[in-house]
């Protein structure tokens, strides 16, 4: 993944100099191991600050909403699918964008790396091919990247960008024969009481910081239902009923739109596996409508179209 850094810097510099983009959105290397910092660059001379490695697990499409002007942006598979969704939902126009595509082999789960090193203090994580060299005070360990991938990346079947103006490398092999929804089936098989218990436990640590919502490019409503105060739909305290309302409604707002980019789960400060909510809806969208979000700009999303002659029974 590191080989892309130089290419991104060159491409961004060129696009900004040639006026093909007024701004360029990418990542700069973060100040803390495994945390990179989204940046917007206007000056080609600053293109050298751009960076790419296996810790770019946020979703940069988040920053495109209603942006003006011509924008250059780096996009791997899932980010590109969110750009498609953004175009379909009129949040950005295709001709405003210069998409720099990055074939992706998956992002690293920073928690998994810390877990693998016994949650010791890490000072440096260096990527070398398919391995990570992890250093802390008085220790060094080598970890296989494949063992610490973000859970969404481990089951990803769209690693290559689906929309781009330029690709920075040859496509990577897509993963096949992946059981994407094993965890969802486990929950589906539970009794209603067990399911309720499972989800109650899952969100029990939630502090209602809304990082999951805000990291998600789908959540662009000018006022979210939880922030509405006239009338107020959801209580502002940390009452479990209000917290559950937030999580379930957030997930439903993402139905048929979620690309499973994993940004929500990556950013949670208390480590809640929030994808357990959205994944069930992704599974339903796939099984009922053969729909995966953000694959093409010429197809209406499953939930905003219908056909009178639909083969499904429930529509009639």
């Amino acid at each position: 993944m590191l080989e892309y850094t130089k290419k991104i810097q060159e491409t961004a510099g060129r696009l900004l100099s040639e006026g093909k983009a007024e701004v360029f959105i990418g990542y700069a290397k973060g100040t803390v191991p495994m945390m990179n910092h989204p940046v917007v660059i206007r000056d080609p001379a600053k293109a050298g600050t751009l960076h790419w490695d296996s810790h770019c697990g946020l979703n940069l499409c988040n920053y495109l909403t209603k942006m003006k002007g011509k924008i250059g942006i780096v996009a791997n598979g899932c980010n590109s699918r969110n750009i498609v969704t953004h175009i379909m939902e009129n949040q950005i126009a295709r001709d405003q964008l210069y998409i720099v595509g990055i074939p992706c082999k998956g992002m690293v789960d920073h928690r998994a790396v810390k877990r693998a090193t016994g949650n010791r203090e890490l000072e440096e994580v260096i990527e070398e091919g398919d391995t990570l060299v992890v250093r802390g005070r008085g220790f060094q360990e080598i970890i296989k990247k494949a063992d610490v991938l973000q859970r969404n990346c481990a089951v990803c079947t769209h690693r290559n960008p689906v929309i781009y103006d330029e690709m920075l490398g040859p496509p990577v092999e897509e993963q096949t024969g992946i059981d994407q929804f094993k965890d969802v089936r486990t929950i589906e098989e539970m009794t209603p009481e067990k399911k309720w218990g499972f989800f109650t436990r899952t969100i029990s640590r939630c502090i209602r910081c809304y990082a999951c919502r805000n990291a998600c490019p789908l959540c662009y409503c000018p006022t979210c239902f939880v922030d509405e105060s006239r009338p107020q739909w959801v209580g502002r305290s940390n009452d479990p009923t209000d917290t559950m309302t937030f999580h379930i409604l957030r997930a439903y707002h993402c139905a048929g739109r979620c690309t499973d980019c994993g940004a929500c789960e990556r950013v949670c400060p208390v480590g809640i596996p929030v994808r357990q909510f959205t994944k069930k809806l992704n599974k339903d969208a796939l099984e009922f409508f053969s729909w995966e979000a953000g694959l093409a700009t010429d197809q209406r999303p499953a939930l905003d179209t219908y056909k009178p002659n639909d083969y499904n029974e429930f529509i009639r």
């Binding site: 100040t31 910092h37 305290s237």
Partner: protein
Amino acid sequence: MTTKLFSKDDWGKGLLALAKSIKVFVPVKDGDFTAFQQLSEGTVPDWAYQNTRMSPKSIVYPQSERMFEYRLEEADPEANIVKEAVKDYSPQALVGIRPCDAHAFQIVKRNFDNAEFRDPWWVRRYETTTLVGLGCNEPCATCFCASVGEGPFGKNGLDVILHDLGSRFLAEALTPKGEDFLVGLKGGQPAGEKDIAEAQELEGWTGEKISAAISTDQLKNKVVTQLFNAPFWDDVAFSCINCGTCTYLCPTCWCFDIQDEVFGKQGDRIRNWDSCMMPLFTLHGSGHNPRDKKTQRVRQRFMHKLKYYVDKYGNGIQCSGCGRCVRFCPVNIDIRQVAELMNNY
């Protein structure tokens, strides 16, 4: 003041005995991180922890607290009378708190307990709390407590300080409250000169382990309106997703919002932590919000911590250097870098 030496085993037993008469909170491993939990039979304290994910501020200042309650049934003679809700003020001890978080209570105290205002709930609960600190043998790479007037063995705000001497704790009372705590704790023995020397040596070399720093020396001299209008705020704010991670994890963020919640004919007035990152923050009844843009909210957070507080209280910055916001900001906005920008502007 008393200084006692405990084997870690004795220390645990002493606390458990104490937990029968007062609430004792200790750091406990909870999945990938550590959280303060109330000690009871079977609790396994984690004394080797670095710091808790959430700061211990909630033990004095809960994220949500019922302030008042009221009834709305017209026939009820007490209808529409707002009454104080019952609260728990029983004595409690926060054992194993890190010096930065104890220092943070002193920062928050300037807001809740000053010549102008006294927040009755915060003050009363703070007064019933004994803070037993655990000095940091292994500070995190992101800790910058040493540049905000503290250190890994800082005593500011603590009633007792513990030195981890391997298999033993050296416990030193620092206040009368701490003295009571140590005298009341079963077990232990008077500390010898050798143990005290060992603790002092520990303090000496862990201070060198603080590698991170923050620049604050020029903040007081800056003109507030110039900093407010500085050109860097849009760039600082660009990546911010306006979540509440920084403010909710922060031990020194004190803002709150008061809400009424009514169910049927029964109402509660609840105080919740607020966050300057959120759209409801400073939203006026008129619908106007002076901080309705992301940049304004991000600027508010840094200006409050690094300029308004500095000017108002003349007592350093509103930050104890715990580094939680640095470690857990999902988009890596680093207060140390923002302070550098402000300090050098």
